[in-house]
């Protein structure tokens, strides 16, 4: 942010009003309600808390949620990276539409995505019927969870890598080529190091989003306890059994995980910005 003239403090009006309202509204809508989660867990004994967050069923749900999110985020790094590359560097028919469609998972409600993917991958669906003879079952298995999470994480990698790739200086590539590097060497030694922080940021964003995802997953997952039950669904199951404390304890674990990811993402983004700037010699 550019340094601002001290004088603007005197000239610009509305500081108290705008900041006051911002902090008031933030507290009312976000901070106070969110603090309820932590206060609720303080009413539990440590033992009860520990039992609630480490039961066999919830451990299985962590493994599925975090495992499937990791796989989905990795798939998005690979294919999202290719999509970003193709959109920035090549010309082909329909490019503009493809570019606009990348954001579909942000705009399409998760429940709609969920039923559409389930219809496609169930045994008589458009895609499922071709996978069935191969012995691959997607709908109502953990594989279905990966498919749904890949869908919702798709824009993150593309949209973080795209601007960085646009800023890669062509001069550097030309310099590498004139020094005798082949295209692959130029990519591996010049371009890839530049976009690596953005790829990692996109990975972390997609992963963070996937761990909390609910709507698109529950339709395709089958939701069998110990097998295809994600953690957010288990929280709802606990709530429906009126085990508020148990639900809240698991929610706290998930919240702490997301705060940790938030911290990681902030650090990665700072790194991306540093890498993105041309180094001064």
């Amino acid at each position: 942010m550019p340094p601002r003239a001290r004088g603007s403090f005197r000239v610009m009006p509305g500081f108290g009003l705008s900041l006051g309202f911002t902090v008031f509204y933030l507290s009312l809508i976000v901070l106070i309600p969110l603090s309820a989660v932590f206060f609720k867990t303080f009413t539990m004994t440590w033992e009860a808390f520990w039992n609630a967050v480490t039961s066999d069923r919830v451990m299985a749900s962590y493994r599925l949620t975090f495992g499937a999110s990791l796989i989905a985020a990795a798939l998005n790094v690979l294919f999202g990276g290719i999509v970003a590359w193709v959109l920035v560097r090549y010309r082909f028919p329909g490019k503009r539409i493809i570019d606009a469609m990348v954001d579909l998972p942000f705009a399409l409600p998760t429940a709609v995505a969920g039923i559409a993917l389930t219809a496609l991958y169930s045994t008589n669906g458009w895609i499922g019927r071709y996978l069935e003879p191969l012995g691959i079952k997607v709908a109502f298995t953990p594989l279905g969870v990966v498919v749904a999470l890949t869908f919702i994480g798709l824009p993150f990698v593309v949209r973080t890598v795209q601007p960085v790739l646009e800023d890669v200086e062509r001069e550097l590539e030309e310099a590498a080529a004139s020094l005798g590097a082949n295209p692959w060497q130029t990519f591996a030694r010049v371009i890839f190091p530049t976009i690596l922080p953005a790829l990692l940021t996109g990975f972390a964003l997609a992963f963070a989003r996937a761990t909390g995802e609910f709507g698109s997953v529950i339709f395709i997952a089958g939701n069998m306890p110990m097998v295809s039950e994600i953690t957010p669904l288990f929280i709802i199951t606990k709530l429906e059994q009126y085990d508020y404390a148990g639900a809240t304890a698991i929610a706290v674990v998930m919240l702490l995980a997301s705060f940790l990811m938030l911290l990681t993402i902030n650090m990665l983004q700072a790194w991306t910005r540093k890498r993105g700037q041309p180094e001064k010699i």
């Binding site: 603007s8 610009m12 193709v86 469609m101 942000f106 705009a107 458009w126 957010p232 997301s258 938030l262």
Partner: protein
């Protein structure tokens, strides 16, 4: 800016690379392969599901489609969705303008903390966003007894749904406006103020015209999420047919009843909304790009 959220307007500054000398450009077959892989991935994961929604919706013909979206439960779900979005979007719009004014026009301590806190709802699972309102307003919650004593219903009623929607869509407008206003600086406002305009007049005639496209961008994304939210609303709604079902919840109920045609018919309304959102978004990105590349033209 930080956090788990919509990366913004990434595509707005598209610069076609100059034709590369053959020494550094990859062979044709590599290009063809990469484009094919990208198109195949996009088709499989984006286009096919989208087409499937409309295909399933119209599978049994127009008549079934029209009855599905005009039956009373569907109409009441549409109404509730419009109410939830109609309340949460304007509130978060006002908040977004206030927050971006405070953050972009002034320097103060704890600004980066404030930015992180504003993004917080993006990094909370929708299910947990719903859970917090159960803890506050549920029968065993902080305000549960008081609400029961005064016969006020929040949870499993419309107010709970509205509150959860406000929480989920909280950062959308703010995070579009803050970077935009920061990049614009305060010179124009200062000039207006020095020339004697009141604070409100300055905002209305100087700031607002400068941020209108960014504002609209945020509102459109905010609205799409408000109308499509499922997880958080599902926790607080109670799923009472014709009363506390939004469109996404109605989709779920119909789908679980194996009434696929009706579920996809109502889902197609949301898919259509998503397409309109994407089209408007592309248009505004083009406008924003246009505005930044030609700053002197009105």
């Amino acid at each position: 800016m930080s956090a788990v959220a919509t990366p913004v307007a990434a595509s707005s500054s598209r610069i076609e690379p100059a034709y590369a000398p053959s020494g550094i450009s990859e062979p044709f077959w590599v290009k063809a392969l990469l484009v094919t892989v990208a198109l195949a991935f996009m088709t499989l994961f984006l286009f096919v599901p989208l087409v499937a929604v409309f295909f399933e919706a119209f599978k049994k013909g127009w008549e079934v489609y029209l009855t599905s979206i005009t039956e009373p439960d569907a109409i009441s779900a549409i109404k509730l969705t419009l109410i939830a979005a109609g309340i949460s979007v304007p509130l978060n719009l006002v908040f977004g303008v206030a927050a971006s004014w405070a953050i972009a026009k002034f320097d103060f301590r704890g600004k980066s903390l404030l930015l992180t806190l504003i993004d917080l709802p993006f990094s909370v699972s929708p299910v947990i966003s719903g859970l917090i309102y159960v803890l506050l307003f549920g029968a065993q919650g902080w305000f549960g007894e008081w609400l029961q004593a005064h016969d006020i219903k929040i949870l499993f009623a419309v107010p709970g749904i509205v509150l959860a929607t406000i929480f989920i869509t909280f950062p959308f407008v703010a995070r579009e406006l803050i970077p935009l206003m920061q990049s614009q600086g305060s010179e124009e406002e200062e000039a207006a103020l020095v020339l004697g305009a009141s604070g409100f007049r300055t905002f209305w005639h100087v700031t607002l015209p400068n941020i209108k496209w960014g504002l609209l961008y945020g509102v459109i994304l905010c609205n799409a999420r408000a109308m499509g939210e499922f997880g958080a609303v599902s926790v607080v709604s109670g799923h009472i047919r014709g009363q506390t079902n939004t469109i996404p919840l109605q989709v779920e109920i119909l789908y679980n009843e194996y009434n696929f045609a009706a579920a996809f018919a109502i889902a197609s309304l949301l898919a259509f909304l998503a397409l309109v959102t994407l089209a408007l978004k592309s248009f505004i990105e083009w406008r924003l790009h246009h505005a930044t590349s030609q700053p002197d033209q009105e």
